[in-house]
Symmetry: C2
Subunit: 364 residues, 2 copies
Amino acid sequence: MSPHTPAADRTPVTGRTADDDTRQPGMADVARLAGVSAQTVSRALAGHPHVRQSTRAKVLAAVEELGYRRNNAARMLSSGRSRTIGVVTLRTTFYSRANLLFGIEAAAREAGYAVSTATSASLDTAAIEDALSRLAEQDVEGVVLSVPLVHVSPGIERLTRSVPTVTVDGSRTAATEIVAVDQTLAARLATRHLIELGHETVWHVAGPREWLDAAGRRTGWRDTLEEAGRSVPPVLEGDWTPASGYRNGLVLGRIPDVTAVFVASDEMAFGVIRALHETGRRVPRDISVVGVDDIALAEYCSPSLTTVAQPFAEMGALAVARLLRHIADPDAAPEPASVEPVLVVRASTAPVEGPAQGPAKRRS
Amino acid sequence: MSPHTPAADRTPVTGRTADDDTRQPGMADVARLAGVSAQTVSRALAGHPHVRQSTRAKVLAAVEELGYRRNNAARMLSSGRSRTIGVVTLRTTFYSRANLLFGIEAAAREAGYAVSTATSASLDTAAIEDALSRLAEQDVEGVVLSVPLVHVSPGIERLTRSVPTVTVDGSRTAATEIVAVDQTLAARLATRHLIELGHETVWHVAGPREWLDAAGRRTGWRDTLEEAGRSVPPVLEGDWTPASGYRNGLVLGRIPDVTAVFVASDEMAFGVIRALHETGRRVPRDISVVGVDDIALAEYCSPSLTTVAQPFAEMGALAVARLLRHIADPDAAPEPASVEPVLVVRASTAPVEGPAQGPAKRRS
DNA sequence: CCGACCCTTGGCATCGATAACATACTCGAC
DNA sequence: GTCGAGTATGTTATCGATGCCAAGGGTCGG
């Protein structure tokens, strides 16, 4: 027939039972049936204001009758908008990231945006950069970078400059808005809680330095101790895995005067607790432990875990809102937003034992 | 200028620093610079066979120089292919689903497909149907339905008929291929393990009936017991949450002759164990517990959990492979595939205590 | 030395919808 | 009654790349 038939007999996604052999109806077909122009159909479907109610109704009826669906590719080509945002996240299933992804997804869908994901297996800047550029090639209108990077490579910098980007719990890059849980606060809540229970000082099992949230918790913990005039024990380094918590727990168990530990994630906290048990220290009788995340299991391991919960859904929604605003008005001043974590007290923390302690030595 | 300027000054995703104010280069620009026709550029970039090596090189050089990127929308419109697949999954962060999502994502990216996700907050068929149709409207070429539905609604049925679909761990729908972990086997492995340790019978805390994997585990467990000639205790119903495990654990703790429990997920297993402890039963001394999933924490709670691991990455890859094959050749016969789970023995299971037991009463 | 055939490349129409511009029309106010 | 402001709809050009067809140029066999 025509010199170019591709779209004629391919079978794009149909909503109909596809029992009739008619080709996919186009906007022109709808227009004909409704007795208006294609343009009007377009307007009616786009919710354009200047369309008479009766006309809109006719159009919608025709759409319904034909089972018409607008062709995305054509729309995109003509309007230059893809109505898609991308999310870069880590494939490592640490509870928090996965949850955040769902929060973002939900919010974006709600706003009428499709979500395309690109995951990276590691925090390595090259991998992240790769994920980001894969998204860029898909013409996403914006990207949520859900990657707790402390440092950004020039490549990432360049990419984030060319696509509206919101960073979640990561470093600010040049053209980027940032949404984050106030990790410093999370650490303060945990640390203060332990101090108030009468513990002389609080040890810390931290996350890797490359993770920004880990860094925030580290400083929040240190600052709180210093402000309270307590000594700051050396930091123990973990890598988020329960195994690393376990290793550090074995160390802590051997240090006699350890009575309180703030662990940078629940998963590591479980490892720590296990190790403490194995070294004969009881939690919370001998040592109190606080985690971060409030994973589902936190309440059901024994002892149930005192932890700092992070509002992931809220964060996802906030990130998407920021991103859409930025897309709509690229000149709007980027204003960092942060949401507050909440301390959830359970059974892994308890007041210090013995008479010698009490709220004695407080300075400030 | 022209009556239609939209794409001229919008700023689609650029790879370049965007310092010059030139509009996005088009294929025509590349063609001009390379001294060939646009058509040839298209062919060169598409890896078409009949293009002279030297020409291809010229084209690539021009592409490089201009920082050209093919416009996806145009490509899609003209070719009718979106190079995107959709994934429908659950927002509930049960470890297994999230992991599966990552597996699928990785495999699809590898194959050069973009991945668009649509999550549903519940297993409710209406919600799933909605997610599925949102994807369909995006012109995805295929869908991975990562939803353990037992029953499918007519709407879902219809949709899966119009878009190539692969179901992961869910029911077969008319036009659908299916990839699944052999959940029956998972249950058999767990149950057999407990029997071999000398337990007279094995109790079961199951997942909700609407979940196909829960159903599979249920029958696998029952069949194994029956084949071994053991009595089959009543099933305890859970909903995957640690809380439901806890509730059921409290019940189990009150039944004197319970010595072994197969729990349908690790998270519930943790709840069960906690409850058992609270009712004064020791694990594994008094009661052995086996979970399913092998979540990261399984190894680090005390006692570390014996569980059945599922190969999620492998499943994701398999699902994507099947889907792409189906897209390429819609007539290929759908052949269900299943991958095998693996028993991981840790410290929550132990041989039955006391002399009275032993491998005495075995029948078959 | 010529025709058949393959490798390369160009021309043209086309995918389906939208933005800008233009036109007809409605309604209230002077 | 007529003019102006705004409303409702049609017309046209266009987005950017691809598929089909055909043409130019070379090779190989007879």
